[in-house]
Amino acid sequence: MSVLTRNRRRKILSDFMLGLSALFTVLCISLLFFVLGYLLIKGGSSVNLAFFTKLPTPPGEDGGGMANALVGSAKLLGIAAVTGLPIGFLAGLYLSEFAGRTMATVVRYAADLLNGVPSIVIGIFVYTLVVLPMQHFSTLAGGLALGIMMIPIMTRSTEEFLRAVPVTLREGSLALGATRTLTIIRVVVPAAARGIVTAAMLGLARVAGETAPLLFTALSNRFWSPGINQPTASLPVMIFNYAVAPYDDWHRQAWAAGLVLLTLVLVANLSARYLLGGRQES
């Protein structure tokens, strides 16, 4: 009798704890839908044509949009892509195809450390490296900060996808008389191309939402920012500035900008995952 009740108690505890873990999972996932839904409600009505086409209005004046921030974000991401992606890609290629054990460990470790550096510290780094010598904030500095953040992401994922290419493919190519370089360029990289492109998209989506490293590199700008040599507005920094400002109309626009940014980030993430999933199934 007492054994039975004891076993019953153990069974109940088991069901309770496992049920709790299921509840936690539901809670965490519903947070995602909550954030998304809340942004939709608060920002949905403010995402209009003016938001995409007009410049911000002076403080306290209603209306206007964030066209300059959208263009600014695009330019920052463009600079991040042309600086961070090739460096990260080639570093990843080095890790998977050329590096000896010691070098591979050291470079991999450095990439992981760089990945763990808080983004605001990357901002300080670029400030001392670019903003101080040039003596002004600029789109270039902001883009470089995002680019540096992309390097470790890109390095590690490139390495992973290149390593996943079967050895038999390489051996086949080498057996046909191709050199290692030719094998890498014509066989290994194309075989991993989809994964690498996806990784690049995920990396861009991640830095697209970064605010901290832009605060004192790209700064912000209430007007259009021609070229790459002047401060520029960007969506995340606008969200921050507008959210902490005391104007209702700015809050409204911060919500709209938040909705647009989150939508872009999630769409990029989902489509990247969709592409990857297709590859794995085939």
């Binding site: 496992l18 999972t25 050291v106 450390l113 605001i120 510290v121 080498l174 901290a212 959210a243």
Partner: protein, 327 residues
């Protein structure tokens, strides 16, 4: 490809009939190796340069204040007195609070995904949690300011105060903003990291371990709690440290809800400040050289702290991986 050429180019044999062409191509390999090496090394250079720049650009406050910088609470740009203790305190406290909430939550989710959920559901839920991690920090701050802060002010903080009867940790006016609120927002942000690493670590625990426990008559929870979790412990610690590293450096969401007051107060309700937040708020306004360099030194401290945490985390995760492959 002519048939006679094939055997001469087999790997590991000397190049014979196509020696000249082969040598040229080999030189191409060496060139490719060199190019790749330059870029691989550039990751090292960037990381090293980062540390160096932080170091040389914070020489003034280091010379002037020395170690006092870390222990002084005075942050007075007008008087030229700088001490980072309040920021270190805010960073450590918010991160600790975040872990207090996020660790049970995250491990619970990891257990569900690894032990209970069918593979398809687990993959689906894992993906949604990764999307949770993809939500930009500034958006967590925005949502935190407009939902969590009022809830904390109107419901949670008065209730906690009443329930604990003026316990110092839960005392003082309910502003809504403050350490506790920042800790909660941070917890939401780091949970996905604990889940994704935790799930992987738990899945790496050999099946036989669970089967043996179940065969001995333990319930599913007992097999999880007494067998699987201890087996995966180093990796789980690694996941926690990784989350801690993220929490320490998290900037925007914390800046928006912590209250930004450089004080060390006993209460978790009090507005505070974190290292990342003070850099975010004051960096572009710091005109004095000493002021700017003091902020850079705050960044240096933050950098050093996250580096140590990350090294420990990677070590622990690697230890579990090794353990798994050895058996």
């Amino acid at each position: 490809m002519p048939e006679s050429a094939a055997p001469t180019i087999t790997m590991g044999r000397p190049w014979s009939s196509l020696t000249r062409l082969g040598l040229q191509l080999r030189r191409g390999d060496a060139l490719a190796h060199a190019i790749a090496l330059v870029f691989g090394a550039s990751v090292l250079v960037v990381t090293g340069l980062l540390a160096w720049q932080l170091w040389v650009n914070s020489v003034l406050p280091r010379r002037q204040f020395g170690w006092r910088f870390l222990f002084s609470q005075t942050w007075d740009p007008v008087a030229g007195q700088f001490g980072a203790a309040a920021f270190v305190y805010g960073t450590v406290m918010t991160s600790a609070l975040a872990l207090l909430i996020a660790v049970p939550l995250g491990i619970g989710v990891a257990i569900f995904l690894a032990e209970l959920a069918p593979p398809r559901l687990s993959a689906m839920a894992g993906m949604l949690l990764e999307l949770l991690a993809a939500v930009p920090s500034v958006i967590y701050g925005l949502v935190g300011v407009s939902i969590l802060v009022p809830i904390m002010r109107v419901y949670v903080q008065p209730a906690l105060k009443a329930a604990t009867g003026g316990f110092p940790l839960f005392s003082g006016p309910a502003y809504g903003i403050g350490l506790l609120t920042a800790g909660i927002v941070l917890a939401v942000m780091v949970v996905p990291f604990i889940v994704s690493v935790g799930r992987e670590v738990l899945l790496a625990v050999p099946r036989e371990q669970r089967e043996a426990a179940l065969a001995l008559g333990s319930t599913r929870w007992e097999s999880t709690w007494k067998v699987v979790l201890p087996y995966a412990r180093p990796g789980l610690y690694g996941a926690v440290f990784l989350a801690l590293g993220r929490a320490l450096g998290e900037t925007m969401a914390v800046t928006m809800v912590i209250g930004n007051r450089p004080e060390i107060a006993a209460s978790l309700f009090a507005p505070a400040y974190s290292m990342a937040a003070v850099i975010a708020n004051e960096f572009s306004e710091a005109t004095e050289e000493l002021y700017l360099q003091s902020l850079i030194e705050v960044g240096l401290v933050l950098f050093a702290l996250t580096m140590v945490i990350n090294v420990v985390a990677r070590g622990l995760i690697a230890a579990t991986a090794d353990q798994g492959s050895a058996r």
